[in-house]
Symmetry: C2
Subunit: 253 residues, 2 copies
DNA sequence: GGATAAACTTAACCTATGTCAATCGAGGCA
DNA sequence: TGCCTCGATTGACATAGGTTAAGTTTATCC
């Protein structure tokens, strides 16, 4: 219940944050309603429940989970700076659960405040909209990887993606990153089983492509891993990638 | 190049269209810039290309395609009434190609006109935003189905989804629907091969769950097919489903 | 510091699906 | 009418990955 400050700093960092005016930045800071620390496994928003606020992930990891006949399935992963359930502003009810993985910190913004932004700040509205579509682009890449890659490549692809997304918000270093996802989670998100993901990790390890232990991911040679995973970062719309040309972007609307 | 009329009638039909005022409906009709008939296989918008207009699918089918080392992969399918690349308004460049499947008819809206809507019509803006998030919800369900269903169930799931989406816009009947997708397309969208999808079709056919020929899908017992596919329509946010309660929706914002 | 539980690891076996190769069938065209 | 092409279909074989079940390591807690 502390009065917040600076919690929006990571929002769209590495992407379109530079297109945000100072006015817009402080506006976003000011509409934060509350900040909270949450333990591992907290369900922030439940499938089908009416939402009247949205959540920005400040620290930690969050998974989008769809339960289906006993199985928990991870259909998305969010990292700090992600407005994890901004979707719920336009959708009102989500089709999935939003759950912390590891201890996390979040900031809340009421939908009333967001409605005010939409009514008065068209440019900022477009940036908020953009951030939700970024998730959709990531979803599409997951579909692609599930359709055509084998388990090892899928895992490698996911690790590459996480590295880049964490790198946008300065949470990755040249050797890897920290991550609370267990092998079960990884298996889940890659559409395979814990047993098989373990086989695959063993193989990647032996090829010197990846090291994974106790919440730490080590990437000895990122370029090699990306090649192995058929990974290209374009779809993350980061600075310098094919899809985000800062000059064009700043001018538009 | 005909002056258009009525082409927006299917937009959000079966979903939140009832929340749209008459003013908003005519506004949408009026910002249509152009209407066009396109042959099979036309690429409406190419990955990475700067877009200055968005496309509403009026008639026919459209696939979202990501090419990757020779392979064309379908990561989404759109049906009439879908604002297929409204994403491109906020993203400016898409991560995938947008391609017609079978002869189609589309209507174009310039981004300048959309920017005007965002600047002056907050409620309509939210509805447009909503429609893009619907695609994201569908993407998530695809991820789920690719993660946990087997090929036969995946195909059945896709057919069920298409039936419901076409039903929203009155293009499905109680026995099935017409659809230009070939077995290759279906295989592609289900993350399997043409050979295997054929095996699977044969099996579904012999179980009396599905009939498929020359652009016509026949569903003898939809309930049985949905059970087989572990399908529930909630995630499509249609009237009467878990996630869209008209009363709540109309009031909000 | 030993007990306990959770996560990780390995092995043996089996099935779904990929791959390759051939054939069939329908529609378009000379 | 008969050729030609594209899509659908089938068969034989190879393999990635699922399943079950057992160990092993690591972390937690008294």
């Amino acid at each position: 219940m502390s009065k917040p400050s600076g919690h929006m700093q990571l929002f769209l960092k590495g992407r379109l944050r530079h297109a945000m005016s100072d006015h817009e930045k402080t506006l976003l800071e000011n509409i934060i309603d509350d900040v909270e620390r949450l333990p591992d496994g907290t369900c922030i928003l439940e499938r089908g429940k009416l939402a009247n606020r949205s959540t920005l992930l400040v620290d930690g990891f969050i998974a989008r989970v769809i339960e289906d006949g006993g199985n928990r399935n991870i259909v998305g992963v969010q990292v700090p700076g992600d407005f994890v359930d901004l979707h719920a502003f336009a959708l009102k009810r989500l089709d999935h659960d939003v759950v912390t993985v590891g201890p996390s910190m979040v900031a809340y913004v009421t939908h009333a405040a967001l409605a005010e932004v939409v009514a008065t700040e068209p440019h900022l509205t477009r940036l908020l909209w953009f951030s939700t579509l970024l998730d959709a682009a990531i979803h599409r890449e997951w579909i692609l990887k599930l359709e055509q890659l084998r388990a090892g490549e899928r895992l490698a692809h996911m690790i590459c993606e996480l590295w880049h997304r964490l790198n946008f918000v300065d949470l990755a270093d040249s050797h890897g990153f920290n991550m609370p996802l267990l092998q079960t989670h990884l298996a889940n998100a890659c559409g395979t089983t814990a047993v098989h993901i373990n086989r695959v990790i063993k193989s990647l390890r032996s090829q010197g492509l990846l090291e994974l232990n106790r919440g730490r991911v080590t990437i000895p040679d990122r370029e090699a891993l990306e090649r192995y995973a058929h990974f290209t970062a374009d779809y993350l719309y980061g600075h310098g990638t094919l899809f985000l040309d800062p000059r064009t972007e700043v001018e538009t609307d």
